[in-house]
C-alpha cells in the first residue's frame, strides 16, 4: 500500500513542482467553453440549453490534453522499466498513476466548472447536476485514457493517437453524462449508468493498461 501511496505522492509532487500543467488544463477548459458563445451566437436561452453539453465537451477535451504525459515521462527516463521490478504488480502501479491522473486532470476541471457555468449562463440546478455527472463520469474518461496512453507509449510521436483510441470508448459516458440533464422526470438512471461505467472501467483498466505496457516493452 505504501508503494501505491509513494507513486501517488510522487506524481502530485512532480506536478506541483512543474505547476504549469494543471493551470494550462484549467485555462484550456475555460477557454473552450468561452469560445462557444461566439460560435453559437448571443442567444442566452439556446446557450443555457447547450451549456451542459459544452461543459462536458470542454472537460473531455482538456482531459485528453493531459493524457500523453501519463506514461511518456516515465518511459523516457526508464522508470517504467524499473516499475517491473517493484514490490507491487504493474497493475497496482497503473492504478496509482491513474488515480494521480484523475486528481491532476479531472479535479481541476471540476473545481473550475463554476466559472464556465457563469460564462454559459447555467442556472444553479443544472450546474449542480452537471458537476455531479462529471464527478461520476470523469473516472471512466481517465480510465479509458489510461489504456490509450499505455497502448501508445511505445510510439515516439503517439501524442494524439491515444486520445483518438479512447474517443469511441468515451461516447457512452458523454451520452449518459449529458443525459443526466435531459431526463425530464428526475430519474436517476443516467447518473447510475455513468457511475456504473466508471466503476467497471476503473476496475478493468489497470489490467488492460498493464498488459499493453508489458506487450509494448517487448
Amino acid at each position: 500500500m505504501s508503494a501505491v501511496a509513494a507513486i501517488l505522492g510522487r506524481e502530485l509532487r512532480l506536478a506541483g513542482r512543474t505547476g504549469a500543467d494543471a493551470l494550462t488544463l484549467v485555462l484550456f477548459f475555460v477557454m473552450v467553453g468561452a469560445v462557444m458563445p461566439f460560435a453559437i451566437g448571443p442567444d442566452r436561452q439556446l446557450l443555457g440549453k447547450l451549456a451542459p453539453g459544452i461543459v462536458w465537451i470542454a472537460a473531455f477535451l482538456s482531459m485528453l490534453l493531459g493524457l500523453d504525459r501519463l506514461f511518456r515521462a516515465d518511459e523516457d527516463d526508464g522508470t517504467l522499466l524499473l516499475f517491473r521490478q517493484a514490490s507491487i504488480p504493474l497493475e497496482a502501479v497503473v492504478f496509482a498513476k491513474m488515480l494521480a491522473q484523475w486528481l491532476l486532470t479531472a479535479l481541476p476541471v471540476l473545481i473550475a466548472s463554476p466559472l464556465l457555468a457563469i460564462l454559459l449562463s447555467m442556472d444553479m440546478a443544472s450546474w449542480g447536476k452537471t458537476l455531479l455527472a462529471l464527478l461520476l463520469g470523469t473516472p471512466a474518461l481517465t480510465a479509458f485514457g489510461t489504456i490509450g496512453a499505455a497502448v501508445t507509449v511505445g510510439l515516439k510521436r503517439g501524442g494524439l493517437l491515444g486520445p483518438v483510441l479512447m474517443l469511441p470508448l468515451s461516447i457512452p459516458v458523454l451520452i449518459f453524462g449529458v443525459g443526466v440533464l435531459t431526463v425530464m422526470d428526475g430519474s436517476t438512471a443516467p447518473l447510475l449508468f455513468v457511475a456504473a461505467l466508471s466503476l467497471v472501467s476503473v476496475a478493468f483498466c489497470p489490467f488492460a493498461a498493464a498488459l499493453a505496457l508489458r506487450v509494448g516493452s517487448e
Binding site: 505504501s2 509513494a6 516499475f83 521490478q85 517487448e218
Partner: protein, 204 residues
C-alpha cells in the same frame, strides 16, 4: 521450491535460452547457472544481445525459447540497472531514493546512508536534474542499496563513471557477492572478481 535453501543452490538456472528481436535471432541454446556469490560477466560486440539477455532475465522480454528456472524465488525479485537511470530531475536526490525505497520495499539501508556510500552524501537536498551523467549513475547505483535484493542485473555499470566510480562499483559488487547475492553484468570493461565470463555473439 523449499524455503530453506542450502548454500550453493543456484539462484537461477538458464536452459537452452534463445532471444530474438524484431524477427532476428540474437542467440540460441544458451545455458548457464548463477550461484550465490557469483559474478557473471556478459561480453560480446555491440548488438550481440547483452542488454536483451538482461531484459529477458528481468522479465521484460519474452524469450523465443528456453526456460528460466528461478528455484526458490518465483517471480524473482531482482534489481535492474540499465542505460536509463529512472531518476526524476525535478525531485531531490533523497526524494528519488525514498521513492524507490517505498516502491521496491524498504529492506535495504536508508537513503542518506546509501547516498553516503555512493559519494553523494552532501547533495541529498539537490534537485537530481543538476547532477552530471556520472553523478546520476551513482544515484542510480544507490537505488540498488535502499532495497535488498539478491540478484543484480547491471547493464554497462561503468558507463559515465570516473576512476573512483569504477572502484565504487567494484566495491558494491563485492559487498553484494559477500552477502550471498549474485551479479550479472554486461560490460566492455574489466570488473574484478568475475567468477564466469559469457561471450555472446561468437558461437553463432
Amino acid at each position: 521450491m523449499s524455503p530453506e535453501q542450502p548454500p550453493g543452490t543456484p539462484l537461477l538456472t538458464v536452459r537452452d535460452l534463445a532471444i530474438s528481436r524484431g524477427g532476428r535471432a540474437l542467440f540460441d541454446g544458451l545455458d548457464f547457472t548463477v550461484l550465490p556469490g557469483g559474478l557473471l560477466l556478459l561480453r560480446g560486440p555491440n548488438g550481440a544481445g547483452k542488454s536483451s539477455l538482461l531484459l529477458a532475465l528481468a522479465g521484460v522480454l519474452r524469450p523465443a525459447a528456453g526456460t528460466l528456472d528461478w528455484h526458490a524465488e518465483e517471480p524473482p525479485k531482482l534489481h535492474f540497472l540499465g542505460h536509463q537511470s529512472g531518476v526524476k530531475s525535478r525531485l531531490s536526490l533523497l526524494e528519488n531514493l525514498s521513492f524507490w525505497r517505498a516502491v521496491n520495499g524498504p529492506s535495504g539501508i536508508t537513503p542518506p546512508v546509501a547516498l553516503d556510500q555512493v559519494g553523494l552524501g552532501d547533495l541529498g537536498g539537490l534537485d537530481a536534474g543538476y547532477l552530471s551523467a556520472g553523478q546520476t549513475k551513482r544515484l542510480a547505483l544507490a537505488r540498488l542499496l535502499v532495497t535488498d535484493r539478491k540478484l543484480w542485473l547491471l547493464d554497462e555499470p561503468l558507463a559515465a563513471l570516473d576512476a573512483a566510480g569504477d572502484t565504487l562499483v567494484a566495491r558494491l559488487i563485492a559487498d553484494r557477492l559477500a552477502s550471498g547475492g549474485a551479479v550479472i553484468a554486461a560490460t566492455h570493461d574489466d570488473l574484478p572478481g568475475a567468477t564466469r565470463t559469457l561471450t555472446l555473439g561468437s558461437a553463432t
